[in-house]
């Protein structure tokens, strides 16, 4: 068990930068997820921690020790790959025990550890099978088993669920979380799926273009995104962004989205936003779940507005409503019984207490 530290970590492929000097502290026993779109440098970062990729500049520390030039086998890590990477000619038992056999661990100790891991993953009956006789989910379990038996300082997962179908992915997600609760090893997990990131992580690291956009618990990222990128990346469906201006009328601030729609700025934010009056290039951000149907009793920061619905998507427990404000499409989530119908006008409510104001130029949340 150990903490992992990245200091000013840089990776260039020839002249193309993949990772641009990131700093990150991962505590002992913590489950950290690196998430971002493809090409954001998350897998490269993981592979540098694993020692599969040379480090251009900066340091990787595992358990307080700089491991930049240490080969993977001496780093005491285990990795689970996207495509499982099981040894096809070995049985499940041999696959799981391969690392231990190379280390010349005693036979009965190997057997004990493999059986223990097999029990955790519920694959005890599969130990004598070959990988080709297993289903995708079973192969993924074996790949995890191979990591668990090594009892390493750090687990590394490289998009382990992206080859599974949707249902199995959700199942294995829970499985991975359970395993981590049982085994409690420091874990770095890479994915492009923000739901996976949110559900699994103690802390999520959002990466974009080789940089870290924000680090925080899933709830922090959801409620207080630092940048437009994080605000748009975390949450599904994604946050709505509408160009807006801030105007002052009789001492009170209003956010104007269109000729007809303007909302009063929540009381506690007027101080922060006063300097932005009349400024251009501002975006108003609000999550779909904070645009609701009209209701009897409105909370202090909830304000009604009326739009014409373009499309409605009933999901059962809720209905997605799509509408345009000044040519920008927005989506809200309303009660399925609220009578939303495409082509009709509908009264909706925006919860301004949950809004974000973004400077479109810098991408910062103000």
């Amino acid at each position: 068990m150990a903490q992992v530290t990245l200091q000013k970590l840089v990776k260039n492929y020839d002249e193309t930068p993949a990772v641009r000097g990131i700093d990150l502290d991962i505590a002992d026993k913590e489950f950290v997820v690196l998430v971002g779109p493809s090409g954001c440098g998350k897998s490269t970062t993981l592979r540098m921690i694993a020692g599969l990729e040379d480090i251009t500049a900066g340091d990787v520390l595992i358990g307080g020790e700089v491991v930049n030039d240490m080969p993977p086998k001496d780093r005491d890590i285990a990795m689970v790959f996207q495509n499982y990477a099981l040894y096809p000619h070995m049985s499940v038992y041999e696959n799981m025990s391969f690392g231990l056999r190379l280390k010349k661990v005693a036979k009965d100790e190997i057997a004990r550890r493999v059986e223990n891991a097999a029990q955790i993953l519920d694959i005890s009956e599969l130990l004598q099978r070959k990988p080709k006789q297993l289903s995708g989910g079973q192969r993924q379990r074996v790949a995890m088993g191979r990591a668990i038996v090594r009892d390493p300082k750090v687990f590394l997962f490289d998009e382990p669920l992206s080859n599974l179908d949707a249902k199995l992915r959700v199942q294995m997600r829970t499985e991975i979380k359970k395993v981590h609760q049982k085994v409690r090893t420091t874990t770095v997990y890479v994915t492009h799926d923000q739901i996976e990131a949110m559900t699994l992580a103690d802390r999520v690291v959002v990466m974009n273009g080789g940089n870290i956009e924000q680090v925080g618990t899933p709830n922090e990222l959801y409620h207080n995104p630092a940048t437009k990128f994080v605000a748009g990346f975390i949450g599904s469906p994604a946050m709505n962004f509408v160009p807006c201006t801030i105007e002052e009328a009789a001492g009170a601030l209003r956010i104007r989205l269109s000729k007809d729609i303007a909302f009063p700025v929540p009381q506690e934010r007027t101080g922060r936003y006063r300097a932005l009056v009349g400024k251009s290039g501002l975006l108003f951000g609000l999550r779909p779940e904070h645009i609701m149907e009209q209701r009897q009793h409105l909370e202090p920061n909830q304000h009604p507005f009326e739009v014409e619905l373009e499309v409605t998507e009933p999901m059962g427990m809720e209905t997605m409503v799509f509408f345009l404000i000044e040519g920008t499409e927005l989506v809200g989530r309303v009660n399925p019984d609220a009578g939303a119908q495409a082509g009709r006008r509908m009264k909706l409510v925006a919860d301004l207490g949950k809004m974000h104001l973004i400077d479109d130029g810098s991408g910062r949340v103000l």
């Binding site: 694993a50 020692g51 599969l52 080969p71 993977p72 086998k73 890590i77 285990a78 990795m79 790959f81 996207q82 495509n83 499982y84 990477a85 099981l86 040894y87 096809p88 000619h89 391969f98 690392g99 190379l102 280390k103 070959k130 990988p131 080709k132 006789q133 297993l134 995708g136 192969r139 191979r146 090594r150 080859n163």
Partner: protein, 302 residues
């Protein structure tokens, strides 16, 4: 509504029928060409067998060449009791087995390093390996002859007219090609497999012996078969480099000892060729069981 349904119903079986028919025609034509091929390529060995079973008298009598009227095993017995033929056979066998061993010892590590460990100039080297295979042996045997003479002059080691010297020569034919096909095979193994092995604590040698060799077994067997066949059937080099009757290999031996002047001992020639063709055939049959594609099945997604 019901009319449309009826139309669709009527159409479906017709379509299925045409699909079946085109498939049947494809099968018919495949069989026609396969049978033509089989007949064409089996004719020589069958003819060898027929001739091998005839006595010299029957061959000379110009009777139906495709039938044996008085079958006899005399030719085979004569060859198998002839010291000379057995010497050819032994020379060929020892050379071929040794060449296969040497080839594999060189080609497998070479292919592993060229195909898997990226280093400066590795792609150029890999292309160079293949280029050497493209130089025909008819161009090489004179320079090789001179090299062997030079080795004799400088070191006193006589390579010419010694069958075992061919063990050193043949790998120049087999190593480049075997390396080339092994590079292709190693490159087809998913990269995550060696990364997993690296993380599991394997060094490069263990990665090669414990992961790559078993996984690339079909490729290794293909290379083995190739190396064996080339050394077994090589004619030009032994013809050029060996002279004495006890130093000859099978292909050269048959032609030089069973043709005496203008007397062709057809029965024995054919019997000798047939028996000479047997070992590669047996090796194919034996190794084909292991030569099954899809050994990497289950390694990764699929």
């Amino acid at each position: 509504m019901s009319a449309i349904a009826a139309e669709i119903k009527a159409e479906v079986p017709a379509k299925r029928g045409s699909l079946k028919r085109s498939r049947r025609w494809a099968l018919v034509w495949s069989y026609v060409f396969l049978i033509m091929f089989a007949v064409f390529f089996l004719m020589p060995p069958v003819y060898m067998l027929i001739m091998g079973l005839k006595s010299s008298g029957e061959i000379a009598s110009m009777s139906n060449p495709w039938w044996v009227f008085h079958p006899t095993l005399d030719n085979f017995i004569a060859l198998l009791t002839s010291e000379q033929y057995l010497t050819f056979f032994r020379n060929s066998a020892v050379i071929s087995l040794a060449v296969v061993a040497i080839t594999m010892l060189i080609a497998v590590p070479a292919a592993f390093s060229l195909g898997r460990m990226k280093f400066w100039g590795s792609t150029t080297l890999a292309a160079g390996v293949f280029l050497t295979y493209l130089v025909p042996d008819t161009l090489l045997f004179i320079p090789l002859f001179k090299i062997m003479a030079w080795v004799h002059d400088t070191t006193g080691i006589a390579l010419l007219n010694h069958w075992w010297a061919l063990i050193i020569i043949y790998p120049t034919l087999t190593v480049p090609f075997c390396t080339w096909i092994m590079i292709g095979y190693f490159q087809s193994i998913p990269k995550e497999l060696d990364e997993a092995a690296l993380i599991d604590g394997a060094g490069y040698i263990q990665m090669l012996t414990k992961i790559f060799l078993p996984v690339a077994l079909p490729g290794i067997i293909a290379a083995t078969i190739f190396a064996f066949t080339v050394s077994w059937s090589e004619f030009l080099y032994p013809m050029a480099f060996t002279v004495s009757a006890d130093q000859l290999v099978l292909p050269v031996g048959i032609v030089t000892t069973l043709i005496k002047g203008d007397v062709y001992n057809w029965g024995q020639i054919m019997a000798a060729c047939l028996m000479g063709a047997a070992p590669p055939l047996i090796i194919y049959a034996f190794l084909m069981d292991y030569y099954i594609a899809g050994l990497t099945a289950g390694a990764t997604k699929g």
